[in-house]
Symmetry: C2
Subunit: 495 residues, 2 copies
Amino acid sequence: MSGPLDELRARLAEGADLRRAAGVLGWEQRVTMPPRGTDARADQLATLGRIAHERFVDDEIGRLLDAAEPLVESLPFDSDDRSLVRVTRRDWEKARRVPTALREEMTREGARGHHAWVEARRANDFPSFLPYLRRNVELKRRYVECFEWSDSPYTPLLDDYEPGMLTTEVREVFAVLRPALTEIVASAPEVDASFLQGDFSPEDQRAFAERVVATLGFEGGAWRLDPTAHPFCTSFTNRDVRLTTRYHPDDLESVWSTLHEAGHGLYAHGIADSLLRTPLDTAPSLGVNESQSRTWENLVGRSRPFWEHWFEPLQETFPALRVVELDDFVRAINRAEPGLIRVDADETTYSLHIILRFELEQELLEGTVALEDLPEVWNARMKEFLGVDVPSDSDGVLQDVHWSGGGFGYFPTYALGNVISLQFWRVVRQALPDLDDQLAAGDALPLSDWLRDNLYSLGRKLTPKETIERLTGAPEIDPEPYLAYLRDKQAALVA
Amino acid sequence: MSGPLDELRARLAEGADLRRAAGVLGWEQRVTMPPRGTDARADQLATLGRIAHERFVDDEIGRLLDAAEPLVESLPFDSDDRSLVRVTRRDWEKARRVPTALREEMTREGARGHHAWVEARRANDFPSFLPYLRRNVELKRRYVECFEWSDSPYTPLLDDYEPGMLTTEVREVFAVLRPALTEIVASAPEVDASFLQGDFSPEDQRAFAERVVATLGFEGGAWRLDPTAHPFCTSFTNRDVRLTTRYHPDDLESVWSTLHEAGHGLYAHGIADSLLRTPLDTAPSLGVNESQSRTWENLVGRSRPFWEHWFEPLQETFPALRVVELDDFVRAINRAEPGLIRVDADETTYSLHIILRFELEQELLEGTVALEDLPEVWNARMKEFLGVDVPSDSDGVLQDVHWSGGGFGYFPTYALGNVISLQFWRVVRQALPDLDDQLAAGDALPLSDWLRDNLYSLGRKLTPKETIERLTGAPEIDPEPYLAYLRDKQAALVA
C-alpha cells in the first residue's frame, strides 16, 4: 500500500513536527515565558531533542533510504523526492557518527558554559569562564574525531552550519577580504550621523517596523513581529513566521534589525509547500540564509531607492528628523566606523570581526593559541584588524554568546552571508532592471517574488554551493561583488 | 545503579515533558499564533500526542510497574512513590484498553466534528451537524465497549474526567440538586444590575485584573495573564502558569472570568515540587479542579468581604461606578436570573444547565433520545428546567463546543465543582475563622496558603473521592452545603 518513500516521509514528518514543536517552545521562552518557567522548559526541550534524535538515527531510517534510493535515481537531481533521499542520507550518516554519550555531554557542558559565560561577562571575569571554555573546546576536539576530514579539523565544525564547505575555501575568501576591507575601512570618510541618536519612542518604532514589514511580501495572517532582548527569527511552517526585534529608545537600530529578521522570515515564508514537514523545509545553510537577512537589511534597507519611499513616513513618525535631508540620512546609515562590538558593527567593518573569530577558532582547536592567552591575543588582533583598543574582556573576548555553548564553526557563516548576498544581488539586478524604481515607489514585491521563486522555494534541496551555482552559474564563493559594493558605497560617501 | 522506580520516573518524566510541550503549543495557538499556522500546529500536536501515547502504553511501563510495586507497598498510602505507582498503574491499564485505531479515529472525527460545529452554529444549521454528531456518538459507544462498567455505559466516559466516579453517584447528587435549584431560582428576587452594563475600557479592565491576580498568592515571575477569545488556564510547570481572560467593552465579566481562571491557576501553582514531571502534577479530576475556580470566582469573588477591599479600587478604575453603593453592587453580582447560555449563567442557575446536558448525554449514548430529535428535546427541557424559550439552535443545542469534538462525560464535572467547592469551603471557614476580615483587608494569602498546603500540593496522588475525604472526613459528594449557600445568598438578597 505505501512504499518505502511514503514510510520515509511519514517518519521524517514526525521528526519535522518535533523540531518545529521545539521551535515553538524556544520562541515562547524568549518572547513570552515568565522567568521562573526556565528550568521546566529546559527539560521539555531536552526531551523533544532527545526523542527526535533517537528516532532519526534509528536503523529503520537507513533501511528505508536503501529501499528508496533506487526508486528516485532516475528522477531529476533537484526533484523533491531525489533531493529528500540524498539530503536525508547525508544527515543520517552524519548524525550516526556521533555517540549519544558525547552528544549529551556537549549539550550539558554547553548549557553549563552558557551560565558561566553570563556571569563572567557580567563580572568581566574571563578566568572564571576559562575552565568551561576549555571543556567545550576539548569536547569539540572529540566531536571532530568522529568525522573524516581532508583539509582541517575545523571542517567538520564548519560543516554543521555550512554543509559541504571546506575550511580552506573559507580561508581563501577571507584572505582576499581581510586586506581589502582593512583598506576600505582605513579610507572611509567621517560622516555625521548624530541625528540617528535621539528620542525615538519604542511604540512609534514598533508601528513603523510593522508598517514596513507588511509591505515586503508576507501574506496576511502568516507572521508576527514581537519585541525581545536578542532579536531572532524562527518559523513553525512557511505560514507561521515569527520575527523578533528590539526597540532602543535612543536610536533607530530597530529599523535595520527588523529588516534583517524579515530577510530570514521571507526565506522561511518562501519555502515550497511540497517541502513542508521534511528536512528540506529550511535554507541550505546559515550562510545562504544570512545572505538574505543581509540583503533586506543592507542592500535594500540602506539603499537610496528604499528611503526615497520610506524617509517621509519615517519623518512623519519622528518629526525630529524633518530637518534632515534624505541624502544626509542615506550617508549616515551607510558610514563605516570601526568599533569594539560585533553586533553593533556596520556592514563594512562587520566581516573583520568575523575573520578575527574564524582565525582564533582554528587556533584554539589546533592548540596553537593557549586558552589562557585568549584575552591578550584577542586584544592584539582587535588593534591589528580594526585599530581599536579593548578596554575590558566583557567588551572583548567575552562579548559573544557562541563559544560559551560550544558553537564553534558558526561565525564564518555571517561573513559568508555578506559575500553571498552580493553574488545573488548581481543576478537580481539583471533580472529586475526596474528594481530601483520599484523600491522608490515602495514596491518590494517584484524583488520578494523573484527571490522566493528562484531561491527561497528551493529550501534545502541543494547544498549551499549547488544553490549558488543554480543562481549565479558558478559554485564558488566570490568576494569581488561584495568588495566592489563596499568600494562604490564609500566612494559615494566621499562624493 | 538505578532501580525500576528510577527508570519508571525517567520514562514518565519524558511523557510529562511531551504533555507540557503540547500544552505550550496549545496555549500559543490560542493566544499568539497567526491564523495561518493552524494546519501545521495540528500536525505538530498530533505527533506529540501520538508519541506520548505510544511511549506510555509500551509493555516496558508494565514491567517497571510490576517491579516497582513490591518496593512501594510498605510506604504510606499517600507517599509520592506509592501514589505514583498506583496512579500510573491505573492510567496505564486504562490507556491500553483502547485500540490505537479507535483512538486515532476519535481524534480525527472529533476534529471534523469541531469544524462542522463551528459552521453549523454560525449558520444555525443543526441538520448539517447531525452526521458528525452521530459519528462521534457511535465512536463513544465503541469506546465504552473497551471497558467494564457496573452501573451505566456512561461511567467510562465520566471516568475520563472524574476518575472513580459512578454515574449513579452523580445521578443521586443531581436528583437532590435539580428540584432544590429550581425552587431557589423560582423564588429569586429581581435585582437591579443595570450598572454592570456600560462603557468599561478593556485596558482598564486588564489593569484591574492584573492588579487583583497579583494579590492572590502567585509568586512573581511565575504566571502571566493574556487576553483570548475563550478563556482558559494552563500551566507548563508549577512556576509557569498561564491565565487567559477576555475583556468585553460593555460589561465587567472579565473580573469573574479572571478570578475563575486564577482559581485553576492557583491549583497548578500549588502542586508540590516533588510531583513535577510525573502524571501526578495536576489536579485529581476536572470536578475538584473546578471546585477551586468556583471558589475564587464565586465564594471569594462575589463575597462582600472581598469587595469591601476591592470596590474602591474598582470605582477608581471606573468612575461611573462611584454612584453605586457597595451593597447594591454585591447584590447585583449575586443575583439569580435564568438565561439561555450556559457560559453566561450565574452560579445559581448554572448547575441546571449542566443537569440538562448530563441527562441528554446518557440518553444519546443509550439511544433513548434520537439524535435528530435533539433540538426539540433540548428546547422542551430548557423550558422545563429554566423556564426559558430557545429562539434558535445556535443559542440552544449548538451553543457548546464539547459534543462537537466527542467530549461526552465532561459536563457534569462543572456542577460537581460547584458542589465540591462548598464542601471544602465549610472546612476552610473552620480552619480560618478570620477569613472575612482578611479578605476585607485585601489579604487573600491565608486562604491561598491553606488551600495550597491542604489541597493543591497533593496533586493527583489521591482520587477525587479520597481527596474529598482527606479534607472533609467523608468521601461522599454532598450537595447540602452548596444548596445552603445558595439559599442563604438569596435570602440575603431579599433582606
